[in-house]
Structure formats: C-alpha cells, structure tokens
Symmetry: C3
Subunit: 138 residues, 3 copies
C-alpha cells in the first residue's frame, strides 16, 4: 500500500505544539497496515517537526528556552529583511529537521509511551503549515 | 520483504556508545536484501540515535562535551522534577533525532568506511532502551 | 520500483551549498514514480545534509555563522589530531544529520516552494563526498 495526502495545520504561535492526534486522525488507513512506515514531511524552512515528551506542557515551553539559547537572534546575520526571528528560524528548522519517520506495526504507530509528535513553529507570526503524509507497507 | 523486530539495549552510562554490530547482528535477514532500507527507531525521549565516527573513542567522549555546551543544564527550565539532566536530555534527543535510516545494497548497510551507529544516552541514570528495527526492500 | 545509485559531489569549500538540481538530475527515474520516497544518504561523518531556504545565498552564509556559534572550535576536545575543525565537524554532522527523506508524488519531489537540498561541508579542506541515492515506490 502507498497512501499520500496533504494536510494543513492552522497557524500556530511560536513554540512547540503537540500534533500527534491530528496526524493520526488524518490517516484512518493506518489500521490496515500490519507493517510499514509513516513519513511526516513539512514543506517549510522556518518550522520543523520532532518527536518528544507528550505529557508535561512545561517540556514544550522549555524547548523554546533551550532552542533560543542554542540559536540566539543577536548574531551577525546578513539575511535580516524578514525580521530578526527569521534566520534563527531557518537554523532551528534544520537542527530539528523537516521530516519524521515512524514505524507502523499491527495498525498502529510504534511510538514509545511518552513520545508525541511536535510541530515546532520558529516564526513569531506564521501562517498555516503544509504537511505531506505518506504511508506505505503491507 | 518487510521485517520488524524490537530489541532492548542494556542500560548505558550517560554518553555516546557504538551499537553498530549489535544492531546488525539482530538482523540476519539483511543478507537477503538486495536493495532496501533499514530504519532504527528509539522509543524514548531522553536518548537518541546518530551516525558518526566509528574508530576513535575520543570522538564519543568529545560529543558529550559538545552537546553539554550546546544544551547546558543551568537554564531557566520549568520541567525540573526529574532532575537537572532531564530537560537537557529531551532537547539533545530532538537535536540528534529518534531514528536513523540506512540504505541497504547487496545485503549490506551502505555505511561509509568511518560511519558507525551511536546510542546517545542523555540521562545520568537510565534503564535499558527499546529499539524498533524495520527492514524492507527486495 | 527500487533504484539505488551512488554519486560523488566534487570537493566543496567549508559552508552550505545548494545541490538540489544535481541530485534530481541524477535520477531521471523520478518521473516514473507516482508515489514514493527518495532517500539521500551521505557516507561521511564530517559533512551532512539538510533542507532549507533555496533562494537567498545569505541564508547559506548565515548558517555557517550560526553553526560555528552552536559548536565552536575552542572546546576542551581530545580528538584534535586532524585539526581544530575536525571534532566540531563531527558534531555539526550529527546535529544536521546524514540523510534526507523526501516524499515523491506525481513524478516529482514534494518539496515546498522555498525548500532546497544543502550539502553542509564542515571541514576546512575536504575531498569529494559520496552520496547514496535510493528511490522506491510505485
């Protein structure tokens, strides 16, 4: 089986947001996949995707603290026309990555108990974000 | 072919550990794969996987130095109940990533000469870590 | 369909380089893939791959600034025999990653408008870099 569809996430505030249920619910075909892969790909360069702790909202808030420290806005950048948050957003997007690949077994994503899917919005003001979901397997 | 199995790595000390042979030996089916993919997925949010230099143990020790500098423990985090190493562990896990995808050709992983698979253990005291290995191809 | 081929990129200067068209042109078979995946894997531990902004060359230059700040050369590293740029190169390679996975639909990579493929060369003086390209789907 090969299934590919695009979904658009509504505009999110700068920060880290749990989107696990939104992604899973877009793919009822998961139930028919005994063994396979789900790829989630974000078609943008200033937002990204990661897998992390799905329980405590403080973790998502602390991610913003840590990423702002790792990639601060006060660097001698040349690409500044789109705002001081733009170039750090590009770098954060590459550090966290533009796609996730999740193993599927017995009709379900094989995530660990504490794993959830994050949308990482690195811009101060962003529009909706387009994701390409691709599921394949048997 | 689609093969999926879970293995558990024994508890490792905080740091970076070569696990290439452990992963490969868990998959004798690799020999039957002329062209395919191997995904290694870690079901945790405070440990991660990466590919890096497989020869000099100093590289693994230096990784610990560099990651501690990039994501230090003395930040104004809210999620601190599980210890000062916990929140940095989450961030390091996302920076390095929860899965690896390795091309398979002629029955072998197509790693470069100097490439090995690292388990990146970011917690001071961790239990064993669960990996999902998925191999598919022809 | 399963197609795997190796290409070698010519030696590049330290920094971030757009290689989208070089990769795509190596795979005319993309046109025959209605739904699938393209993996690009780099067989090295001091260069990496990422997806980011494909238009303004300043973004690529600023990436070098940001990554040098995130992983500076003046750390207490032990692995220094190959030069002060070597250990930081290994760390940058793992932070950005050794492979990309791009969804294919209707014979084309489903990249966003502003997304391009970067070779990230982290060494001061590097040789050519080997990539393994694998395309599969239907």
């Amino acid at each position: 089986m090969w299934i590919q569809k695009k979904i658009t996430l509504p505009a999110a505030s700068r920060g880290f947001h749990l989107i696990t249920s939104r992604v899973i619910s877009a793919l009822p075909e998961l139930a028919d996949c005994q063994c396979g892969m789900l790829q989630i790909f974000i078609q943008h360069t200033s937002a990204s995707l990661t897998i992390n702790e799905n329980a405590d909202p403080d973790v998502r808030a602390d991610f913003e603290v840590a990423m702002n420290r790792a990639v601060p806005e006060n660097q001698p950048f040349s690409h500044t026309l789109e705002g001081s948050d733009d170039m750090p957003a590009h770098v954060k997007a590459s550090l966290l990555g533009s796609s996730l690949l999740i193993p599927i077994g017995n009709g379900r994503p094989q995530l660990g108990t504490w794993q959830g899917i994050y949308l990482c919005e690195h811009r101060d003001r962003a529009s909706g974000r387009h994701l390409v979901l691709t599921l394949w397997g048997e």
